[in-house]
């Protein structure tokens, strides 16, 4: 039995293939195995046939039959073509992938351009900043957003909008206004 990994057919194991047979049938299924006779094992196979049985003369419609797992004799195969990449929810393909064989068509997670920051975030998008992650010792929880960085912290870049602006001296934020954001250039609030 000469079936090596260098075999050209082997790279398409797991793909959906379409097989045309000598009887004029077309079989579409997941390519699971083959041998030296080109006997095939097809999973989730569907059979399409044009030639209606002789009992229904005149009808030239195409009929479909769902067969499931089949063994196809290589003797009857005319042609074989790739119909599509492996189905993604396929456990067998996953087990092949787990062994390090990278099949074409395997998926990678994709986002919409938002990456999870692995370093200290620079200037987060307005409205997307969450709570400050590291709780500061001695911090008043009511004013969580308006604290100056502790001594030794490199501090925020100059001109950075948004969070971290210290309240003006003497100003006490009203209760519930913990967010402490002042629009740039806004006149300082005065309490009378």
């Amino acid at each position: 039995m000469s079936m090596s990994k260098t075999s050209k057919l082997f790279q398409y194991i797991g793909f959906r293939i379409k097989v045309t047979t000598t009887e004029g049938k077309t079989l579409v299924g997941k390519f699971m195995a083959f041998d030296k006779h080109m006997n095939l094992v097809l999973g989730d196979c569907e059979e399409f046939s044009r030639n209606v049985p002789k009992g229904k003369k005149g009808e030239e419609r195409e009929r479909k039959r769902t067969l499931g797992l089949i063994i196809l004799r290589g003797e009857n195969i005319i042609s074989l073509t790739i119909e599509g990449p492996p189905p993604q929810d396929d456990s067998r393909v996953k087990s092949i992938l787990a062994r390090g064989v990278q099949l074409p068509g395997s998926a990678q997670p994709a986002g919409r351009g938002i990456t999870i920051p692995t370093t200290a975030p620079t200037a987060p998008m307005p409205g997307l900043t969450g709570p400050i992650q590291t709780p500061l010792v001695g911090m008043n929880p009511a004013f969580g957003r308006g604290v100056m960085p502790p001594p030794g912290f490199p501090g925020f870049p100059p001109g950075m909008p948004g969070r971290g602006i210290a309240p003006p001296p003497g100003m006490i934020p009203p209760p519930g206004f913990g967010r402490g954001i002042l629009p740039p250039g806004a006149p300082p609030m005065k309490r009378e």
């Binding site: 195995a33 041998d35 006997n39 009992g55 003369k57 479909k64 067969l67 499931g68 063994i71 004799r73």
Partner: protein
């Protein structure tokens, strides 16, 4: 060596269970697989043979048969026969078959 099962190994695992055999001509057989050889000549038991003719489908029963592998087109392991795979008309013609 091989990551997937060979076709004939799969047939071997089906020994003792029901098998739906589709022949090259308009014949189909359902029976219990007792054994087979390298040519996929098969011994089947409790066989129902479905013959598709002009008059429709005819059924013949056989207790035990030795089936020549020459005329086999397809094997469906575990299937109980053609009634388990109802035919549906495909809407629209598929081109390029």
């Amino acid at each position: 060596m091989s990551q997937s099962i060979l076709p004939l190994e799969l047939v071997d695992r089906c020994i003792g269970s029901q098998m739906f055999v589709i022949m090259k001509d308009d014949k189909e057989l359902v029976g219990t697989l007792r054994g087979f050889d390298d040519y996929i000549n098969m011994v089947l038991e409790n066989v129902t043979e479905y013959v598709y003719t002009d008059g429709g489908r005819r059924e013949n029963k056989h207790e035990s048969i030795l089936l020549n592998g020459n005329n086999i087109s397809m094997l469906v392991p575990g299937s109980k026969g053609p009634d388990q795979h109802p035919e549906v008309a495909e809407p629209g013609q598929r081109s390029g078959i």
